[in-house]
Symmetry: C2
Subunit: 507 residues, 2 copies
């Protein structure tokens, strides 16, 4: 017997620098103390030290696609490269990547970092499992089941339910459409839609774009998604929904959104549930973003009525910081609907003559074959900080959003689009040259359209922070500030507003 116990140490030594560099992107303790004003910058005489400074603190080090192609040397060749060159490839990849864990990254509906989740991901990447059967992924199927059952309990389905982790909220919403139509007409699996009357579904105008993608992909057709108007706060108007249900064809489901993408609005779930009961519709709640509020005793009223839904999509990789991807799709059904709707019973994988209880081979519930263990990192983090720790995180993010909204109201040249209910804080920045026009309804029109894109360009080229913007309905481009991470402080909120002003005051 020959054993080489030094092999692991050798591996870690070889790649330690890269791992450290990569961890800098995530483990931001040193970045929490990043400089917030130009006066804070250290005195860096040489160009080299200035570069170091920029790379260390910037949210991103912007390069155009053409520049970056040159820098990375993307070409794949016949021969391999030596170790020092590969190390340089790793350094470059890390350097020019956006630091999504940076406290000033506010660009998407995920941000920040949790060290437990990260350790969980390192473990699962090293183990490289795939979740079809208990025999190859025992730990990861059981932890998935435990997480799903706890999430189902928190939703409030007292009789229990079923679920599966999926590669993204968009796919979860597709699951919802498929399960809803199968529930309505089980023949669809075998006969297809061409054997059925025209099916129609409902969603609000503020819903995520994946609802349209789902309708197209699943053969429903985007025209058969009836779009319900929302009120000024971005919430579906129930009376309009009921009107649309009576328009004919075969209505089978509604997608209610709990936490819309732009405004962070919550559809009125109780009223939607009443209408679904009256008309025998499947009620799906897309809580991919807003589901986090369920963890908070203080804020879960936003999703009042979610326990009446037939299915829920909820992404812990967003507000709860479980790391991309971590997306649960859950159904209240207890009759093995997921399995019946999606199974194909491959005999080479789901053998029925195995020596253990094959009800633990849950892979056939999924539309995937190989599937990543996305629940494990969340399970580990939950074990480490507890339900209470998750609750505190959510409460803190909502309090911070409230602080930012109040600051915006105090400052000249900033205007809230609406009072935030969740952590989407939407606002315009109005440069001094345009402020005379700012009191009328014109704030929504052309001159303002240019402000946010230019400010965004300048912040990215400086690397000082990243925040999203978009036009919305009749409203010109406004910033959408998303708050998630407990590493974000009030000083960061002040810095954000100062930066926007300093980057845009000349416009």
């Amino acid at each position: 017997m020959r054993v080489c116990p030094g092999a692991l140490g050798y591996f870690l030594d070889q790649w330690k620098e890269c791992l450290l560099l990569a961890l800098q992107h995530h483990f931001q303790e040193h970045l929490v103390s990043h400089p917030r004003t130009d006066q804070d910058q250290p005195c860096l005489a040489s160009e080299a030290s200035q570069q170091w400074y920029a790379g260390w603190y910037a949210v991103c080090e912007w390069r155009s696609p053409e520049q970056l192609k040159d820098l990375l040397d993307l070409e794949l060749r016949e021969g391999g490269e030596a170790h020092p060159q590969i190390l340089q490839r790793c350094r470059d990849a890390i350097r020019y990547s956006v630091k999504t864990g940076h406290p000033l990254f506010f660009n998407q509906l995920y941000a920040g970092m949790d060290p437990y989740s990260l350790v969980g991901r390192f473990i699962t990447e090293a183990i490289n499992p795939s979740l079809y059967t208990y025999e190859v992924a025992p730990v990861f199927l059981l932890t998935e089941e435990a997480v799903l059952q706890k999430m189902i309990e928190i939703i409030g389905w007292q009789e229990g339910g079923d679920g599966i982790f999926s590669p993204g909220g968009s796919v979860s919403n597709m699951y919802a459409v498929n399960v809803a139509r199968y529930h309505h007409c089980p023949d669809v699996k075998v006969l297809g839609l061409s054997a059925l009357p025209r099916l129609v579904m409902f969603t609000s105008q503020e819903c995520h774009y994946s609802v349209a993608k789902a309708a197209a992909f699943l053969g429903i057709g985007t025209n058969n998604v009836y779009v319900i108007p929302s009120d000024k706060r971005g919430k579906m108007i129930p009376a309009e929904f009921e009107k649309q249900v009576q328009r004919g064809a075969l209505p089978f489901m509604v997608n209610a959104t709990a936490g819309t993408t732009v405004l962070g609005a919550f559809d009125p779930l109780e009223e939607i549930a009443d209408i679904c009961e009256r008309h025998n519709l499947w009620m799906h709640v897309d809580a991919c973003w807003g589901g986090g509020a369920l963890m908070s005793k203080k804020h879960r009223y936003l999703l009042q009525g979610i326990h009446r839904a037939n299915s829920v999509a909820w992404n812990p990789h967003k507000m709860l910081m479980a790391g991309l991807q971590c997306c649960a799709f859950m159904v209240r059904d207890k009759t093995n609907l997921l399995q019946r709707c999606h199974s194909a019973q491959a005999s080479y994988l789901f053998q029925q003559d195995k020596f253990y209880d094959v009800s633990y081979d849950t892979g056939d519930k999924s539309i995937q074959c190989s599937r990543k263990p996305d629940a494990f990192k969340f399970w580990l983090m939950w074990k480490a900080i507890g339900t209470k720790g998750l609750e505190e995180r959510v409460d803190r993010a909502l309090a911070m959003a409230r602080y930012l909204a109040e600051e915006i109201k105090k400052r000249d040249g900033f205007r809230l689009v609406m009072e935030p209910e969740y952590t989407n804080v939407c606002f315009w920045y109005i440069p001094p040259s345009l402020r005379d026009m700012a009191d009328g309804p014109d704030v929504c029109t052309t001159p303002y359209l240019q402000v946010a894109p230019v400010v965004k360009e300048r912040m990215m080229k400086k690397g000082s922070m990243m925040v999203g913007y978009q036009p919305h309905g009749d409203k010109a481009n406004f910033f959408r500030q998303i708050i998630i991470s407990p590493q974000v402080s009030r000083e960061d909120m002040d810095f954000l507003l100062d930066q926007i002003h300093s980057l845009g005051m000349d416009l």
Copy 2:
């Protein structure tokens, strides 16, 4: 300015033990020298050292679902746990997970480990990017593009093509169905299938089960998948295909399989392409498993004609060992079909007034919103070992499969199901008590049905190796041995056959 440069070191110190443990699962240099006979076992007097031995060398440490639930303490509670407890959770998760990188893990269509891919995954997990837009994932969108273009070149589409990485080969096959039907009837995206005549598609009886899942999920219906008989070698019979095309309804695509799941068979692509041309059908090749052979000048003849396909699915996480998941879906089309077919143009994400060339914001080609950077690890590995290194890996795996097949022919009590073309080596083990019956056609029937499940149970409880089995058509359960990793040696092949005999000789 306050900087805490010790933070990273602290992080690594805290979690080093876990990372090392997890890496043991992947970095198997010490396992290449695992003991292959009972005589090889070290003399371990104490129970503790015996446990250490078992955990160190076993492919898996089997526990039933009930036992494992107790061991893992799955419950999620109000309060969090202290660091030592969380470390123990990690140790347990690693210990009871199957070592998919172990040289004796032959259970699935992936195995082994590549250190470059693993480093790539550690980097991307730390950076936590999502691939919708260039602004948030510049490095990862460019490396994805570079990998896709190289794969397209290798397929042989001289005019180029387009592609996207997807979360699994099953999803890639779904992309194929959606793109094919959109190409055939672009109205389907808006109007849905209810506005169209009944669409039908074709695949062989040996295809992957995801084709049926795709037909169900996309609203085609499993009845509208016409199943073409295969020959004895598992290859689609072209004449039967052409017969089916003439059966009526609206045929729009065929799924040809290059590397079937059980037998490793390759459908005759040239002849299928001829039929597709005659009947104006979309030709999709599911080369998720067999695509690896394209890297080898010696073996790429197996996919002769793939350059005539309209779309190809190819998973480098399988034969090329890029780590789960790494799944490319590619189309020959150059008219932006992927974008047209799948886009929803969300204005909050795919703003058209950005300051850079937004054609690099490729996320709207996808059915996902958040999406993992699955191409990067493959790009890094390819850079490190070159096209030549990938070719050698494939050639070595096929040579090893040939060695195993020859060994099987030499040994009493073993019988090949067929000569392998790829690295699926399918065979029966016939215990001495049944050998008298083995010469007739009865080898396919009842008494043999029990052998493989019992041998599998015994090998898992011992932890000595993992190999799959299944019944197939009229054939009773046989073993399906998959060879991938360059860490697998001839001695491992001999060990496999010895083990099966020693575990099953009393049956």
